[in-house]
């Protein structure tokens, strides 16, 4: 940041080659990995690679945050190293840990060795248990480091990440400082259940992933469930889009659209008629109140709507197998 002019000569401070040459190439290669990237996603991924900054992806559950990291790894032929965060995760789970048990065994085994030699040996690579962050930094092959659900971790972990993500180095007191030989591409995901610290956010590129526009989602569904009829996919995406407009407790996500598509395929549904929607609504809406609301908004709750009723009656009178009109209106 102090020497902005250097960014032109060497895009990355470590002098590492960028993986992607242009935004279009990002789109292409992510598509090759089975991820259809919107303009925003492609541009931000391109920048993350070019500027060597971590990428913070925020958004509701199920819009493909983790999937993006996976696709980036596949597109760049990198190894994906994943750190799943949870409440109470600490240094020894995220960074490294000494293998105490083995160290003790080593010490007891070497009874007559002098202490200096033992110490030398005990604090060597052999007894260092490398956790995801250190693994990613030491990896000599191209790496995508995924730090998943960072908002679940405690604030202290963010402090730890500042060093790792700022300089891509880790200091182990007994061994010295380990610096990344290759800078990994870093992706952090967050569901925004809590505010991340300003310091961490400032070091990252921010990307908000939201539900995609209809065409893109249709393409995603077709890509994931290729056997599904294209028209059916289109009407499925339409219904999901309409549901997202409602004020629901949990809006259906892309993952749920794909699930729904699989369900329809498994049921062998040809079209998305009201019967099918009503029967399978549970796949996309997970709260009972949401379902009730969706049914009433999409007017699926009535067994027979007045117009349908009239039509049935008309058909009933016309058909040879005559049924009395009164009995059809149940």
């Amino acid at each position: 940041m102090t020497e902005p002019s250097t960014s032109q000569a060497t895009p990355q401070p470590s002098g590492q080659e960028s993986v992607f040459a242009s935004v279009d190439e990002v789109v292409e290669r992510l598509a090759g990995a089975g991820y259809l990237a919107s303009n925003a996603v492609a541009t931000t991924v391109f920048l993350a690679d070019r500027l060597g900054k971590p990428l913070l992806v925020e958004g509701p559950a199920g819009v493909g945050k983790t999937e993006l990291a996976r696709a980036m790894a596949a597109a760049t032929d990198s190894e994906l190293i994943r750190l799943q965060c949870y409440e109470g995760i600490d240094e020894s789970r995220a960074l490294y840990e000494w293998n105490h048990a083995s160290q003790l065994l080593r010490i007891t085994a070497a009874k007559d060795e002098n202490w200096d030699a033992t110490r030398e040996h005990v604090f060597s690579e052999e007894f260092l248990l490398s956790r995801p962050l250190l693994t990613a930094i030491r990896n000599e092959h191209p790496t995508v480091l995924l730090i998943d659900e960072i908002d679940k971790a405690d604030v202290e972990v963010e402090g730890l990440l500042l060093e790792v993500l700022g300089d891509f180095q880790v200091t182990v007191p007994e061994l010295g400082t380990i610096t990344a030989t290759r800078r990994p591409l870093v992706v952090l995901t967050s569901n925004a259940t809590r505010e991340l610290s300003e310091a961490l956010k400032r070091r990252c590129l921010f990307l908000h992933l939201d539900f995609p526009p209809a065409e893109l989602e249709r393409d995603i569904v077709t890509l994931r469930v290729p056997e599904l009829d294209r028209e059916l996919a289109a009407s499925l995406v339409r219904v999901v889009g309409a549901l997202r407009e409602l004020e629901l407790r949990k809006s259906p996500s892309i993952a749920e659209s794909v699930d729904w598509a699989r369900t329809l395929l498994a049921l062998g549904a040809e079209t998305l008629d009201e019967e099918v929607v009503r029967a399978t609504l549970g796949v996309i809406l997970k709260y009972e109140t949401d379902q009730r609301k969706a049914l009433s908004e999409l007017r699926l709750d009535r067994v027979l709507s007045p117009t349908d009723g009239a039509a049935t009656v008309a058909a009933g009178t016309a058909s040879p197998g005559h049924v009395s009109p009164g009995s059809t209106v149940s």
């Binding site: 931000t44 925004a192 590129l205 998305l272 709507s305």
Partner: protein
Amino acid sequence: MTAHAVAGRLVTFAHALREHGIAVGTGETVDAAAAAEAVGFADRERLREALSASVLRGAAQRPVFDGVFDLYFPAAHGTSETTVDEPATPAQLRDQLLDALVSGDDARVRALAATGIDLFGGYGAAGQSGQGGQGAPGGEGGQGGEGAQGNAGAAGGSGSAAPRLSGWSAYQALSEVRPQALRARLRDAIREARDDGLDGASAEALADREATAGIAAFTDHVRAEARRRTAELRGRDRVAQYAVAPQTDLVSFTSATAEQFADMRRAAAPLSRKLATRLAARRRRATRGRIDLRRTVRRSLGTGGVPMRPVMRRRRPGRPELVLLCDLSGSVAGFAQFTLLLTQALSDQFSKVRSFAFVSRTDEITELVRAGRDEPEHLAERIVSEAALTKVGMSSDYDGALQTFADGWGDVLGPRTSVLVLGDGRTNGAPPNLTALREIAGRARHVYWLNPERESSWGTGDSEAYRYAREVPMFECRTIRQLSRLVTRLLPE
């Protein structure tokens, strides 16, 4: 643009963002420049994404960012962002809009919005009422702006006396084009075009929703276009000050529109999650650090009297009872409604939440609010119609309200109860009934008053805010941001 001009534009852009409450430091501006350089200026949408990635810190900032971006990096100067073969009358424009919306061609919709502004949106000396034939002066005005764009601020900013246009009005254009008139036709056309398995009422409902959304999108485009052109005419820094809508958490409760309230309701659930984690974290911290001497000594017996592992004193998790007392009259209702939803969503942080509402008398609404969690749209209206809040009229009477609460529900208050009073303290001339408030304050553990009015207008007119503030602590609570800060500060201790 030369490198210098680009840097200058980025810096003024950052300034404009700062003025709208997005903290953009020098570091971010430098990052933005690096990002812009990497992506290039050829593709405007990519430039937009690149800048947003390096500058923004949260999704809530995005609409503000987009508004400011459109002002500072317009797609084109002058007449329109994208040109179309011009329709000349509102009817023609509507027809073309219909086609564009049915085929889902967003670029085309945007172009039509530009055309609409072009033909009917100009006002001032020339474009009084832009009926078809008078479209031409509007176009010229725009081109004039293009010629003078270098110092548009100087030329147009001072120019109420300027002979040409003095601005572009989205309102005027929209009332001419009347996109709402399309709704029924659009719905039918969409039904026609999207031929899928759904039929009958539900297909109707679906198409209806899509038609509404399409028209809303068009309206937004028209507004954005009008803003952009007015910016050219008057200087963008001035327009940026008022033309970009503020972030949801900075919208004042008392002046929010229906749409803004819908946004707020959507923000309530994530906000409550955030507040809950914050409260839980604080409670966790509060249990650290105090040693329980007796138990530490007892445990040390196992290690020969050496206290190897100290025992911390465990605090009882304090889960207070919360009582909300809400003014639901007139303009305060929106604020009360939001707060009710928020506390309902936070209810697992309290051992009990009870809600009361009043206009001129108080009634309990706990059940109504609980049910309202699933259908938050018309909560305030439902409460007003279903609970007995008033004998006559809809103007608030704090005298009667506080009295009925103190008389009827005095027993809900206890040493573990925190009371939040939500209201503006405007008594409509009735006595403030400080005695009842004192009685409430005496029984409860805490009473806090949250006032949705600006502190400078407390005590003006019929407001008794200062007299109430002397009895119980009163806080200004005009926006979601203030509310969430207060909730964390005041609640579970």
